[in-house]
């Protein structure tokens, strides 16, 4: 790739600025609207707030409800992630380092899981969770999320685990390491970047999940952020400014997490998409 002169790049920059504006304006609009009163929002929908009212934001931050949703989303995301990573790492280890009868069939079974929409299983899954008494229980979201996250995680981890040289395994075995010992004491520490990548993916997926929590949590105690946003909009449908403030606050954790973990997230998605 050759560096071009600045002038030749002008059309490119114009396009990027226009597209960038289209990406940013909806978000900026939400932030600004949150600082208006609903009254002002109908008089002055687009401009800067006449006077910056922080009331919408502080009200929401001051209410326990919002923080409970954040807490629920966090608990469920962490629970899902720990479970997915632990279970997938064991499985990917076996797929990557052992040659055993039935391996390819089993691996195909897991990869098939990538192709099927969650919506297909939603209904019977709901019935199953109901009969197991897991409705209105965080495990009712954590366990299925982990199960549906397995295929992608196993595929990514298997790719990384295969790259760890076989000599290390031999050395560890000669030193008296059991397979699990090698997995626990050598492989996992070496695969820390890969584990970070799949963890970030699992956190984001869990945090954004809407369908499953919608089915499982009928009682507001366990609602997560996406459910809360939808409910809040229904409840305050006339109070636009307040809904905007709520939306902005609900976006903050995801965007903050993205800005910290961008590299792992992008790495995971591209690895997941191409290592299939």
């Amino acid at each position: 790739m050759t560096a071009r002169s600045g002038r030749k790049n002008l059309p490119t920059h114009v396009i990027l600025v226009v597209v960038g504006a289209v990406m940013v304006v909806p978000l900026l609009y939400a932030v600004l609207s949150g600082f208006k009163s609903t009254d002002e929002l109908s008089r002055n929908p687009v401009g800067l707030p006449e006077s910056w009212v922080a009331g919408n934001y502080t009200d929401i931050l001051g209410s326990g409800d919002f923080w409970r949703l954040i807490g629920n989303s966090t608990l469920i995301a962490v629970g899902t992630t720990v479970l997915i990573v632990a279970v997938s790492a064991l499985s990917a280890f076996s797929f990557a380092r052992f040659a055993f009868r039935g391996r390819e069939g089993l691996f195909t079974l897991f990869t098939m899981g990538l192709m099927f929409p969650f919506a297909v299983a939603a209904l019977p899954l709901f019935l199953l969770l109901r009969s197991m008494g897991l409705l209105d229980n965080p495990l009712g979201v954590i366990l299925p999320q982990a199960a549906f996250g397995l295929p992608m995680t196993i595929i990514i981890l298997r790719g990384f685990f295969r790259e760890i040289p076989g000599e290390l395994e031999e050395a560890a075995t000669l030193d008296g390491c059991s397979p699990f010992g090698f997995f626990w004491r050598v492989l996992l520490p070496m695969a820390r970047p890969a584990l970070g990548t799949v963890s970030v993916l699992a956190v984001v997926t869990s945090w954004n999940n809407f369908f499953l929590p919608l089915l499982v949590f009928t009682d507001s105690t366990w609602w997560t952020i996406p459910i809360g946003v939808q409910q809040f909009q229904g409840q305050y449908s006339a109070d636009y400014a307040r809904v905007f403030a709520y939306l902005v606050l609900a976006m903050v954790p995801a965007l903050a997490f993205y800005s910290v973990a961008e590299r792992q997230l992008v790495g995971g998605l591209t690895a997941g998409a191409t290592k299939g």
Binding site: M23, F107, L127, T173, Y240
Partner: protein, 332 residues
């Protein structure tokens, strides 16, 4: 602990291979079994989770689809293929299929080429490149529910940002009913989907572009190929595996679209934005026609399966060689 991870006997440095004997053969068989059990033991937790919470529900949906059933107790009123017959006479469901196809076509014709164009632009050395990349990808990390609520308000009639902007530039006539007009609702939905997802595909393409060796484009340049020829004959063919994956994800995404529709229109107005998943949800969770809803699930499953298998068979095959078919060779 004497077992190695691999069943084949390998000569270890400094260890003479023992001479073969009957006793040795029996020991080897036992070791091989032990090895198999160890390998499979690591699979057990994943397998249990996957079987119970993914495969079992899917199989059960397949079973329930043949019953008239309200979702309580076990299904008992067997009606054969009636749910399916009804499904393919239901104008809403036929509409779902049509809308799914529409979204696929729009994605392939507009969203993905747009993502590719942005990826090509951002693959140059540019000031602010990292910033734009982050900005375009940003919406991907927002949940569909949040995105939907946000755009529901932006496309609100009259007061919403979209109408305000159009009014501001003297195009009042164009605005008005975005999500509320049957003839506009799918276009609006597609706009929102593009806003949210093109960055994801762009990232895939960027990763693909970066794996193309610069020498190839340079060689074409020396041979006198212009920018379009270089793109058409060098970049695009080498990017093909990435494009195929991106198309695959796009289609699967269109088949299972739910969240965005549910929070913006819930399928309205008058079913004009309904998707298969929304119809399934309506029947299964709102009207308690669980058997019928299961039939919808099964058709979604069938479409995904046929598409996935056909795609894998005819399109992805080349890409997956080495990834899934030569596993035996790799671990040894």
């Amino acid at each position: 602990m004497t077992s190695t991870f691999l069943p084949d006997k390998r000569t270890r440095p400094g260890v003479e291979p023992a001479p073969p004997s009957a006793d040795h053969a029996r020991g080897r068989a036992r070791r091989r079994l032990l090895h198999w059990l160890t390998a499979v033991a690591f699979q057990v937790p994943a397998l249990v989770l996957f079987l119970v919470l993914v495969l079992l529900p899917m199989l059960f949906a397949l079973y329930a689809a043949f019953f008239r059933w309200g979702g309580f107790g076990m299904p008992s009123d067997y009606i054969g293929g009636d749910n399916f017959t009804r499904l393919f006479e239901d104008p809403v469901f036929l509409g779902d299929l049509w809308r799914c196809l529409l979204l696929v076509v729009l994605s392939l014709a507009i969203q993905l080429p747009f993502a590719l164009a942005m990826a090509v632009l951002l693959n140059q050395k540019l000031r602010g490149r990292a910033f734009y990349r982050m900005l375009f990808f940003g919406p991907y990390v927002l949940s569909e529910a949040i995105t939907g609520v946000l755009f529901g308000m932006i496309f609100a009639p009259d007061d919403g940002l979209a109408d305000q902007i159009l009014g501001g530039i003297g195009l009042d006539g164009l605005g008005g009913e975005w999500f509320a007009d049957p003839s506009n609702v799918m276009a609006t939905l597609f706009l929102v989907m593009t806003w949210k997802y093109f960055g994801f595909h762009m990232m895939l393409y960027l990763a693909g572009l970066q794996s193309i060796p610069a020498e190839l484009t340079e060689a074409a340049l020396i041979d006198g190929a212009n920018a379009w020829q270089r793109f058409r004959s060098v970049t695009l063919p080498l990017l093909a595996p990435t494009l195929r994956i991106s198309v695959f994800l796009s289609v699967i995404g269109a088949i299972q679209l739910f969240d965005l529709v549910w929070v913006t229109t819930a399928g309205g107005p008058d079913h004009h934005s309904e998707t298969m998943a929304v119809t399934m949800f309506q029947y299964g969770f709102k009207r308690y026609q669980v058997g019928y809803a299961s039939a919808i699930s099964v058709v979604m499953f069938g479409i995904s399966l046929v598409f996935a298998l056909a795609y894998q068979r005819f399109v992805l095959r080349r890409d997956l060689q080495g990834a899934t078919t030569t596993m035996r060779g790799v671990a040894k």
